[in-house]
């Protein structure tokens, strides 16, 4: 089940809200959420829902054993086994095919590549489980002695299949005791609708542009058979610009919906995106983009004593290798991660003081260029296509600057592209900040927010009726 679906919004979610607010006690509310969350996951994964339940059970018992054997070697052995289990699950389901293909390529063998289907959201819920078990071991959180409550944390449907990666410590107290205030429900509803609009209006609209600019022409269009090497410079560059915007709106839209729904239930998840395209450097970009993933690697991988300060560069390499690899079992994602890691290293070597001396406008342009090219690496999973992409950017394939069909494609969505670029900047927070000083203006803003929410909900409903397949990009991770 996807959030951007009429059935989800008007049947599943509505039934969930009605059931949730029909019961009084937190225990009953938690039961409602567990039932709906497992139903949500089983909707798309009728078999692998068992994997989710078993994985949670293994980590539940691991947590109890860690607590029982605290400060002994047995606790260390337990956490080691738990981590091997969790990472092993991920490796088997997500990376077996990749490993076998590369072994075949390296050794010239012909081991048959197993066709293992990736359970939806495994990268997200595995990392969530690991955050619980590691924090348990480090004593940062109390062990959860109730299996249903741990299952609630892992299976909670708002963030189960596409993040954000919610730390157990973030909602530890709210699992046991929480309230949904009028502010929570109101802001949660608005946040959900904004997220839905980001996905349905912007992400889906931008995807069509990306498909036309970067995909292979064919069929009905008037410039048949153009391969990637024949694309114009503008088609190539604007294609990845639109792709970067598409990924932002798709993923941040989902995060907004997840955070909004969580808020309605009384959970307060951390932000996952903070206007990343306004970054002045790449280090800042990764503090604003997919924050939950970056902070996971920072907290659990980068500062692990195993590496120590003497292996600073090795741990940096490992973090960015893992960041890329987490996104997909393909070399372009590894290159993508190391690409950003390289720029972060360069910025560290330049130093913060020297970076601050560079005019902000220039640093913004630098950051945007690096980010856009980065999304080109993200887009082209085939390394040959990736090479062609770079060649197109320097006209090495005899590319035209722009073609008529490219102009038509861009013109056809020009208002959407401009609106997407402008709204990706922190304009609304700026307006909110100014409004905070004027109580009467806040009144008007509140009514406008309601009117906009209603308008967006109606527009999204109309657009969703087309029933085109519009899964979230990050579902594949």
């Amino acid at each position: 089940m996807v959030f951007s679906d009429l059935f989800f919004v008007f049947v599943f979610l509505t039934a969930c809200f009605i059931s949730y607010f029909s019961v009084k006690s937190v225990k009953a509310k938690n039961a409602v959420l567990i039932v709906f969350s497992l139903l949500f996951y089983a909707w798309g994964e009728p078999i692998y829902v068992g994997l989710l339940i078993v994985s949670t059970l293994v980590n539940y018992f691991s947590g109890l054993l860690i607590e029982k054997f605290r400060d002994t070697k047995k606790a260390k052995a337990t956490i080691t086994v738990a981590l091997i289990f969790n990472i092993g699950l991920l490796l088997v389901f997500k990376y077996t095919g990749f490993f076998v293909e590369n072994i075949n390529a390296l050794l010239g063998s012909s081991i048959s590549v197993p066709d293992i289907r990736l359970p939806i959201g495994i990268s997200f819920f595995t990392f969530q489980i690991m955050s619980y078990i590691i924090d348990c071991y480090w004593g940062k959180v109390e062990v959860q002695r109730s299996y249903p409550r741990l299952l609630l944390y892992i299976s909670l449907f708002p963030q189960l299949v596409a993040g954000p990666i919610v730390r157990y410590s973030t909602i530890e107290e709210e699992i046991n005791d929480r309230k949904s205030t009028a502010q929570d429900i109101s802001e949660g509803l608005t946040r959900f609708i904004v997220g839905l609009a980001k996905k349905v209006i912007f992400a889906n609209g931008l995807y069509d542009v990306v498909d036309q600019l970067l995909g292979t022409y064919g069929g009905d269009v008037n410039y048949l058979g153009a391969t990637l090497a024949q694309k114009s410079f503008v088609a190539t560059f604007m294609g990845v610009v639109c792709f970067a915007l598409y990924v932002y709106y798709d993923f941040s839209g989902y995060s907004d919906m997840a955070i909004g729904i969580g808020r309605i239930f009384g959970f307060h998840f951390d932000e996952n995106f903070k206007h990343p395209f306004a970054s002045k450097n790449i280090a800042e970009f990764w503090q604003r983009w997919h924050i939950s993933l970056g902070s996971f690697f920072r907290d659990y991988l980068l500062y692990v004593p195993l590496f120590g300060k003497r292996r600073k560069y090795f741990s940096l390499f490992l973090v960015w290798f893992c960041t890329g690899f987490w996104h997909g079992a393909s070399w372009n994602f590894i290159i993508w991660g190391l690409y950003f890691g390289s720029f972060i290293l360069i910025e560290q070597l330049i130093g913060k003081k020297r970076m601050k001396k560079i005019p902000i406008g220039l640093t913004n342009v630098y950051a945007l260029l690096v980010i856009i090219i980065g999304f080109g690496i993200f887009y082209f999973e085939n390394l040959k296509d990736l090479g062609t992409f770079f060649k197109n950017l320097v006209f090495a394939n005899g590319n035209a600057f722009i073609n008529t069909v490219d102009k038509a494609t861009i013109y056809g969505s020009i208002y959407l592209i401009i609106a997407a670029a402008v709204l990706s900047m922190p304009i609304l927070p700026l307006i909110k900040k100014k409004l905070a000083l004027h109580p009467k203006a806040q009144c008007v803003a509140a009514y406008l927010t309601t009117a906009s929410s209603v308008a967006l909900l109606v527009i999204c409903t109309l657009l969703l009726a087309e029933n085109a397949s519009n899964p979230f990009l990050y579902f594949r991770f």
Binding site: I185, L189, G205, N222, Q230, I414, Y415, Y447, L462
Partner: protein, 124 residues
């Protein structure tokens, strides 16, 4: 501000209820979609095989979207909304006449194929 929170909640809930009411009580669409030239989905038949392969639940979601009341009208409105995303690009063909380039359609007066593999703009 608490007054506004309640107004927001009630308004959104009311609009949602109206939409659900329309979906529940108006006759559902069925048969052939003229806009999309295909049969609209029907409610899937249950079988354990189709359930465990995910086809059954996917079929329910598809059926729900496919059979919303007045679907053709809604698709028409949706199409009009998407036209607001941009504007048409007008170019000139070899005869110097205005040609509207629509990336969805084949255009008259423009070569469909480029036999010489030339990457230059056919309308340049």
């Amino acid at each position: 501000m608490s007054k506004f929170y309640k107004i927001n909640i009630i308004t959104i809930a009311a609009v949602t209820a109206i939409i659900i009411g329309c979906m529940a009580f108006f006759p559902r669409s069925s048969g052939i979609s003229k806009t999309e030239t295909r049969h609209l989905a029907t409610f899937p038949e249950f079988s354990f095989e189709s359930y465990f392969e995910g086809e059954y639940t996917e079929g329910i979601s598809k059926w729900f979207s496919d059979t919303i009341p007045e679907r053709e009208l809604i698709l028409d409105i949706a199409s009009n909304i998407r036209e607001l995303y941009g504007t048409d690009y007008i170019a000139k063909n070899e005869k110097g006449e205005d040609v509207e380039i629509n990336t969805d359609n084949v255009q008259e007066g423009i070569d469909d194929e480029r036999p010489d593999g030339n990457v230059s703009d056919p309308l340049a």
